[in-house]
Every structure is written in C-alpha cells, then in structure tokens.
Amino acid sequence: MSAVLPSSSPRALGPARRSGASPSPVLAVLRLQAVKRFETWATPLVVLLLGLVFTVLLVLVVWRATGEGPGSPTLAEVGRGTQVAVPWLVGYLVYNGVQSVGTTFPLALALGTARRAFAVGTLLHHARVAAWVAVAVLAVRGVEVVTGGWWAGLHLLGGAALGGGDPVRLVVTVLLASLVAMSVGGAFAAVWLRGGARAAGAAGAALGLLVGAAALVLVAAAPDLAGAFRVWWLAVAAVVVTAAGAAVQVVALRGASVR
C-alpha cells in the first residue's frame, strides 16, 4: 500500500476568519437549537393547522351525512370529540424536546461546548418555542373567532380546556402545556444520554408507577377533590413538572458522556 503524501507543497493561507464566534456559549447553543428555522418556528404552526383542517373535514362529513348545519349541537359535539390539533401539537413538542437534547447534545459537544451552557441554552430554547407556540395559537384562535368558527360555528380552540374563549387563559394554558411537553421530552432524552435506553425505560416505568400510585391514593378522595378543584391547580402542576424536567435535564447532562 502506498503512503498518501501531499502532492503539492504547502503554501500559506490567508488569515483565518476569527469574527464569527458567538460571544456567549449559551447564545451559541440557542442559535444551534434554532438553526433549522422552518422546523423550529413554522412546523408547530403547520401541525396545529393540519389538526384543525382534519377536524373541520370530519365535521363537514358529518354535516353532509346528517344534514345538520352550522351551530347544531351534533356538529359542535363532533368538533369537540375530534379536536386533534392540540394533542398533535403537544406530541410534536414532546418530539421536539427529545430531539433538542438527544441528538443535538452530541453535535454540540462535537462542535465544542460545555454541558452547563448546553443545558441552559436548551431550556431557554424550550421557553422561547413555548412562547411562540402560545402566541401562534392565540393568533389562530383570532382567525377562528373572525371566521365565525371556521364558517361552521366550530370553536375548536375555544373549549373549556383551552380557557373557554378567554385569550389570557388560552395563552397561559398553551404556554404551560408546551413547556411541559418539551421539558418532559428533554428530560427523557437527557436520562437516555446519561444512562442509556435502560435508564430511560426505567425512568418511564418509575413515572408510570408514580402516577398510578398517586391515583390509587387519591381515588378515595376524588369526589371531594373534584368539588374543590380549581384550574390554577393544573397551572401549578405544570410549573412543577416543567421545573422537575428542567432539573433532570441539568443534572443528567452534567455527567453525560458521548461514547
């Protein structure tokens, strides 16, 4: 086998460009996380709109099948029962959270960043995406209102779970749901990076058991709890889950290796 030797003599290059580096490692991670601009900013909106179109199409099918027009209780019921836009959006955000850690962390290490800067930058990225999604959903809700519920009396983003038409509650709800989705996704990816598939599976099983055990304990008091239930409980729960997910990400990534 012949050795590969340079076929041309070395020659001097011009000075390397040195002005591109980000002034802050956290800012560099933030820009890395959003370098896929369409996937970061447009895809959540596309997923939301596709979900809405899907539901509206189903409602139109029922309309033609039953002959009951806009404003009828049947169509409203079908619209609520087939509202897939928000679940689809949440699912996408969980995936986004997983990817923002699971495959972006190895790349960030390869490019040269510290784990703490990556964790902080990624959490800030989750926050800004959640804020963007909340604003986008509010804008789509505005269109829904202006069009009289997609010209069919369908207020798909005005249900009780999304604030019952109150724009402030809608924004807060979507913001917290998005944060929870990305935080949980990121936490599982961080655990996977730290301990492998078994650790992630064990974390999932532990979480499932925890939820099951909590349900067993609380089921006896369910009627009392239902009577005393306040919406802000959900908000507090979302904040707690988001904080726990963020803490898991920071702790797991601090010692994570790429092997």
Binding site: V4, R17, A21, P25, L32, A110, L111
Partner: protein
C-alpha cells in the same frame, strides 16, 4: 503556560465501559504542533481515548489536560478541542448548510473559506440530511469540522474511512497545507497506518486499552523487522530475540522481531528474507501479540517509551 508545555497531557487514565476496561493506566504527552497517529485494532480503546481527550467522556482514573485545562465540563476548554466521531449523531433534518452556519458560533478560528473548499473537494452533497450521508461523505464532514474549526487540538476519528483514493489524497494535501499555514496539534485515529504515515511525526499504539507504544515515528520505523523463511531456519535465527508476532503458512514462518538486534542473525542466513517492518505490520504485530511459536517478551510488549 509555556511553549514547552504539552498540548495534551494524559496521566494514568483508566476508563471502564460496562464490563470492559476500555482504557488502563494510559499516560502520554503530545507536544504542541505534533501530528500524532493513534493506532490499534478495533476495540483497542482509540475512540474512548479520543473522547476523553475531547471532553466527550471522563476518565474513571487519572487526569487529562488540554493546554493545561481539564477538558471535561470546563468552559475554558470547550473551544480548545474539535472532534467529530466517526459515528457522529446529527439532529433530524440537519443539513450541510446548517452545519456551516453553526460551526463559526463555537470556534473563533473557524475558516468559512476553508470549509467551502472542503465541501467542493470532497463533493459533500447539500441536499441529504447529514445523518443519511454515505460512510465516505460522513468522513468528509468530519474532516470539514476538524480542519475548518482550527481548534488548537484537532481530533480526527478515522478521517479516511470510506473515502476513495483521490479523496484520501486530497485529505492529506489539505491537512499538510493547512497545518503549514496554521500549526496546531492533531490526534488522528486510523486503521490505514501506512497510508497516513507520511503525515505523522508521533505514534501511539493501543492494545486492549493499554498504551503499548508511544514513540516518534522515526524511532518506530526502525524498531522492528520481518524475518521470513523455512520454519526451522526462522526459529533458529530468532530463538533469543524479542518476537512481536508469528505467522506460519505451510512450511514457512514469518516473524516480526524487535530491533535492534532482532534480525542480526537472520541477515547472515541466505535462506531467510529480512526487511524492515512497515508501520501497519508493526501495529498489527503489537495488537496480535506473539504467535504460538514465538518467544514472547511481555515486559517489552507492554513497554511504553516516554
């Protein structure tokens, strides 16, 4: 830090992965500006060692320093090392354009012009996702980051894996030219020791997680010979010298013997062929261990010259 400080200092490093001792008591220094080959068989511990040097992983034992900084989770060391693994993971829908956009964010010395040149030379396609590139194209992406980042310590993990012959030549040309313009320390792992020999000035050989050779290339080049001939004649001529490896084919025996002195008696026997061992043969011999007919000298097999 003075100019005599090593660019990379590894002291007594050990790393256990699962049930395997991937690295064991590894120690060496790399002087600034050295181009060092990291050689060894599959599973020898090369990638683990590179990951430890790059701060992608941390050792269970020992210490690592890159220009005086601990590489694992140390912001001061983050930009000092560049390493793209041969099985590097990329996010979904991540394309070449994305990489070219983010590279400069992490390395102050990133040379966008050189990056574009590497893209052209290796014909790295822009359209496919990086995770879906062919083996050779993925290697070219690693070369791109390694060269364009201009990190003070550049770690190249199997940079020529899957590359065709013209691309391997182009890699050598680019590396030599860029190092002449921007001298820096390079640690390059490869299975093609003979092909890259002309680029190296130091060699580390790992076997079973242990460092079995740490030497300047010129010292290593004369450190072993191959003796080939009839079994009895070879056994007689190499009976009391250090044998690194033996291979018997029919009535013939080939032995890699340590120099100086290993081939002295064989050279006087007209029935025997004696030639200098190539780097690849030496690495294979160090990794293979002595054959059944050999006269092993374990103390020398595991010796590390410093």
């Amino acid at each position: 830090m003075t100019t005599t400080d090593p660019a990379v200092s590894v002291r007594g490093v050990g790393r256990r992965l699962g049930g395997v001792q991937a690295l064991q008591d590894v120690s060496f220094d790399l002087p600034a500006g050295a181009v060092c080959g990291l050689l060894g068989r599959n599973g020898a511990g090369k990638t683990t060692l590179m990951a430890v040097v790059a701060g992608h992983d941390r050792p269970d034992a020992g210490e690592v320093a890159v220009h005086g900084e601990r590489p694992f989770e140390n912001p001061a060391a983050a930009g000092l090392v560049s390493m793209v693994r041969d099985d590097q993971r990329y996010p979904d829908d991540f394309h070449l354009a994305h990489l070219l956009r983010v590279g400069p964010l992490f390395h102050a010395g990133w040379d966008a012009q050189l990056a574009e040149e590497v893209v052209d030379v290796f014909r790295i396609p822009a359209k496919p996702q990086l995770r879906k590139l062919s083996r050779g194209q993925s290697s070219a992406v690693g070369i791109l980051v390694g060269l364009a980042s201009r990190a003070p310590v550049t770690v190249l993990d199997e940079p020529t894996l899957g590359l065709d012959a013209p691309s391997r030549q182009a890699f050598a040309d680019l590396l030599v030219r860029d190092l002449a313009a921007r001298p820096r320390t390079v640690l390059v792992a490869t299975h093609l020791a003979d092909e890259l020999e002309g680029l190296l000035d130091r060699v580390l050989v790992l076997d079973g997680g242990r460092l079995v050779r740490d030497a300047a290339l010129e010292d290593l080049q004369g450190s072993a010979s191959v003796v080939l001939g009839p079994v009895e004649a070879v056994e007689r001529a190499t009976a009391d010298v250090g044998v690194l490896a033996s291979r018997r084919v029919g009535g013939f025996l080939e032995r890699v013997v340590e120099e100086p002195g290993g081939s002295a008696r064989a050279a006087e026997d007209p029935a025997l062929q004696v030639r200098r061992a190539g780097l690849q043969e030496l690495v294979a011999a160090l990794g293979a261990g002595p054959g059944p007919a050999a006269t092993p000298r374990p103390d020398r097999l595991t010796e590390v010259s410093r």
